[in-house]
């Protein structure tokens, strides 16, 4: 999937859960879910479940642990889609 398309899909998934609007407006691959967007741990799980539904993939605990920022989320989704 093209990076731009992937980022815009992720942005739509993340949007309902963010706490920091400015960080969300300036979202980039380096944006950290917890430090920048101030997402709480329960909503991070919601994001993981929404990513699973959107891309029809199954994520595991180790994926959750790695998924700290937009970049790592993109990498994990791409790996799962390729697999």
């Amino acid at each position: 999937m093209e990076n731009n398309e992937l980022i815009s899909k992720l942005k739509a998934i993340i949007k309902p859960y963010i706490q920091d609007e400015d960080a969300f407006k300036n979202l980039s691959e380096d944006t950290d879910f917890v430090k920048d967007l101030k997402i709480n741990s329960a909503n991070l799980v919601d994001i993981i479940l929404d990513i699973e539904d959107e891309f029809d993939i199954r994520l595991e605990n180790e994926d959750m642990e790695k998924m700290l920022d937009v970049k790592s989320a993109m990498a994990i989704v791409n790996t799962k889609l390729a697999g």
Partner: protein
């Protein structure tokens, strides 16, 4: 893990323990009960000379039975008798229909919706002793073993 062991692992005590017993428990849900004592601390202030159980306390009772007791059961393979689970309430949406007075027994019925990555989300109902619906809603929380 039996019902008594689950209650023993709860991280609450008087005056903030709102679980008397568990009636049924499975991977899918839980039913439990609590009887509000005549002298619960909050009746003195809620309301002046007119004791009625606060909605937040009903929500707490629903969370302790519906989420925390069920969560301990679901985590039973990771828990032992000496490790307490770390818990946090993360969201709830609740509708209330009837008041609960001192000395009323309530029954909490909780159905698991999602339990993944340590987040437990349930649909929870609270009934009075006549079986009438007092409150219902969704409650979610995180449960971790540290």
């Amino acid at each position: 893990m039996n019902k008594k062991q689950i209650i023993a692992l709860l991280p609450y005590q008087q005056p903030f323990l709102f679980v008397d017993g568990i009636d049924e428990i499975s991977e899918h849900g839980i039913t439990g009960h609590y009887t509000f004592k005549k002298n619960e601390s909050f009746y003195k202030g809620h309301f002046k000379n007119n004791p009625i159980t606060p909605g937040v306390i009903l929500t707490e009772c629903m969370a302790q039975i519906g989420l925390v007791c069920l969560g301990i059961y679901l985590l039973k393979d990771e828990l032992n008798q000496t490790t307490n689970p770390k818990i946090a309430l993360t969201s709830h949406q609740m509708d209330f229909y009837l008041p609960v007075l001192p000395e009323e027994k309530v029954t909490v019925i909780s159905e698991k919706q999602v339990f993944r990555f340590h987040k437990l989300k349930c649909k929870v109902k609270l009934l009075n002793s006549k079986g009438e619906l007092v409150a219902r809603g969704d409650i979610a929380g995180m449960l971790m073993i540290k």
